[in-house]
């Protein structure tokens, strides 16, 4: 048996020709090179900072900012520190992103459905809208709208006024500010209760339909309750709400809420631009549902709006949602173009002014990037959850 050939163990290739070992070796080398490269950059940066007398780390956030910001959603004054600036900028970015997402979605759905209309005028207008706005760089649209607005709007003294309550001029849009008085809580509670009641009623309505087949006009009941209940309470408690009207005093307005023109411009421009893309997404989503589906629903006797609600939209949403997510992300990132018209978003006040003053480029850009990254990831997370919810309906 001494001469028996060993059980067919494959002959071993040399170290360099073994794909597995070769792979590991290459990965180790590449990793080492990357570490060396970043190590060099890190060391280089530190020594450059040291030469110019710039301290590293996030200690600078405690330094006094010393500059004013034209729109602050939280209390802020020039003597506050850079950390406060960061928070103010962050909220301003979130404000315009949030407003933009809501209006772009509404506008986009309207234009997308109009694009599919059988009415020639309507569908052509929608097509012209889409092709115009999505084919011009959004930065140009923002700058153009801003220049246009500043040209058109009058000075404070010659403000356009609507019913002596709303004033529009170069400095901004002034609207009355509601100031709740004692007892206004009741109205808020009435609203909350109405919403809760509508949720319960919807549930009951579904049960009723399953039991007896009767359908309640839940949409109208809901609208009536949510608007009606707070309104009735408001009048019954003696209208406990006062309005602070904007009044021209000297060269400027006092009282009311001032909406700066930069916010209005950025909001409109981003909504209009993104809505053009959303419209196309909605159109393609609806068209992705085959005509056979509509025909089958019609043949079964479902009405036009029932067909839309029960058959077409649930299927179209599966196509629409993932693409909608990327448009929301685009809009959020595009808010950084605010810098161009000096809307005080995070990039303008923090990655701009703060960076210029403190010179802490790496820390500041890092924080700013981290902010956009987290917001984008949160939006993605939410939309993926929503998408899974919709997709689960299918399988």
């Amino acid at each position: 048996m001494a001469n028996a050939t060993p059980q067919a163990a494959p002959s071993k290739p040399s170290l360099w020709n073994d794909p597995q070992k070769r792979g590991i070796l290459i990965q180790v080398l590449v990793l080492a090179a990357i570490f060396a490269f970043f190590g060099f950059i890190f060391y280089n940066t530190l020594s450059n900072y040291a030469q110019r007398g710039i301290s590293t780390g996030f200690g600078f956030l405690n330094n006094t900012a010393g500059f004013g910001i034209s729109q602050t959603l939280i209390p802020y004054q020039e003597s506050d520190n850079y950390w406060q600036v960061f928070k103010v900028g962050l909220l301003n970015t979130l404000l315009v992103a949030g407003l933009g997402i809501v209006t772009a979605t509404i506008l986009g759905f309207i234009v997308g459905v109009a694009r599919l209309s059988k009415n020639w005028l309507l569908s052509t207008s929608a097509a012209v809208y889409i092709e115009t706005f999505r084919n011009i760089p959004v930065l140009l649209q923002i700058v153009f709208l801003y220049a246009l607005l500043l040209k058109i709007l009058p000075s404070a003294k010659e403000s356009y006024s609507f019913a002596e309550a709303v004033f529009v001029n170069k400095r901004g849009f002034y609207v009355p500010e509601p100031i709740p008085q004692a007892g206004f809580d009741w109205t808020i509670w009435a609203f909350v209760l109405a919403v809760a009641l509508v949720i319960v009623l919807r549930w009951i309505a579904r049960k009723v339909q399953e039991k007896t087949g009767q359908q309640w006009p839940m949409f109208w009941i809901g609208v009536a309750l949510i608007i009606g209940a707070p309104l009735v309470t408001y009048f019954m408690t003696g209208r406990p709400l006062e309005w602070s009207l904007p009044v021209l005093k000297g060269f400027n307005f006092q009282g009311g809420i001032r909406v700066i023109p930069e916010l209005v411009v950025l909001w409109i421009a981003l909504s209009v631009y993104t809505a053009a893309f959303i419209a196309e997404i909605v159109r393609s989503g609806i068209q992705s549902v085959s005509h056979g589906q509509t025909e089958a629903a019609n043949a079964l006797g479902l009405r036009h709006n029932q067909t839309l609600k029960l058959v077409v939209i649930p299927q179209a949403m599966r196509v629409i949602i993932p693409q909608l997510t990327s448009q929301y992300l685009n809009l959020t990132k595009n808010t950084s173009l605010a810098t161009a018209i000096a809307y005080p978003d995070l990039v303008a006040v923090f990655a701009g002014t703060t960076l210029n003053q403190s010179g802490q480029a790496i820390e500041i850009i890092f924080m700013t990037m981290m902010f956009y990254l987290s917001v984008s990831l949160l939006i993605s997370l939410f939309m993926n959850w929503y998408n899974n919810k919709m997709a689960l309906v299918e399988r």
């Binding site: 339909q209 089958a296 629903a297 019609n298 043949a299 079964l300 006797g301 299927q315 299918e394």
Partner: protein, 247 residues
């Protein structure tokens, strides 16, 4: 004014732009009658039955279904669609709903039947087409033959008085055609008024009361299956039959 006529087409004409699809079509279908419509592709047979539940609009002539005339009146269209079931070549089941939900959707939303009742009726018809155990599955998980049987059950759940079939077996593999045809034969035996566009000549021979041959948008020949297959009158019919029965 109850009479025995289920469907009446009087001098129906239809154009797609310049193309004349239906030329002066006249047809009387009595209650409980089973009619098979055949003819070469593009002859207007699908268009004709799609006019009967207004999936297509006709431009001239009259279509009267169940004593209701089809006009632009939405009320008439709704009423007729409730009484007329249709089965399509490509099944057209709703992919986002289960088999059971597919069957319950129209009864619940159109006839306002309570869910429990709708589900009971749906299960009854799913038994009849022999797939009650697939009720909780989605259409994408079924074979073509099973899907078509679900589509038939879905139509029957609306309790229609007339059923239209638009090439119900053309998209199926040969071994699945039989299961669908068996279901249709059973339905025919129950006394349902049926109009069926098909090339299944075996089905026509066993089930049909009358066979209609269409070409170029016209009804060329209409006869009992016996006469139609053994003594076709028209030259065009003879040619068609020789081609379709050859293989």
């Amino acid at each position: 004014m109850e009479n025995n006529v289920a469907i009446q087409l009087i001098g129906v004409n239809k154009w797609y732009g310049e193309f004349h699809v239906l030329r002066d079509v006249n047809l009387n279908v009595e209650r409980g009658e089973r009619i098979v419509i055949c003819g070469p592709s593009g002859s207007g047979k699908s268009t004709m039955i799609r006019c009967i539940n207004r999936l297509e609009e006709h431009q001239q002539g009259q279509i009267i279904v169940d004593n209701v005339e089809l006009t632009n009146d939405l009320k008439n269209i709704d009423q007729i669609r409730r009484e007329v079931g249709m089965v399509f070549q490509h099944f057209n089941l709703f992919p986002h709903l289960t088999v059971l939900e597919n069957c319950c959707l129209a009864p619940m939303w159109v006839r306002k039947v309570p869910r429990k009742e709708a589900e009971r009726v749906a299960m009854e018809y799913l038994e009849k087409v022999k797939i009650p155990h697939q009720a909780k599955k989605y259409p994408g998980q079924l074979s073509g033959g099973q899907q078509q049987r679900v589509a038939i059950a879905r139509s029957l759940c609306m309790n229609p008085r007339i059923m239209l079939f638009d090439e119900p077996t053309s998209a199926l593999d040969p071994e699945m055609i039989k299961e669908v045809l068996d279901t249709m034969i059973e339905l025919a035996e129950s006394g349902m008024t049926m109009l069926c566009v098909t090339h299944e000549m075996g089905f026509a021979k066993t089930v049909a009361d009358r066979v209609i041959f269409m070409d170029g948008g016209q009804v060329i020949e209409m006869n009992t299956p016996d006469e139609f297959f053994n003594h076709p009158q028209h030259e065009r019919t003879q040619l068609f039959l020789s081609q379709i029965l050859a293989h």
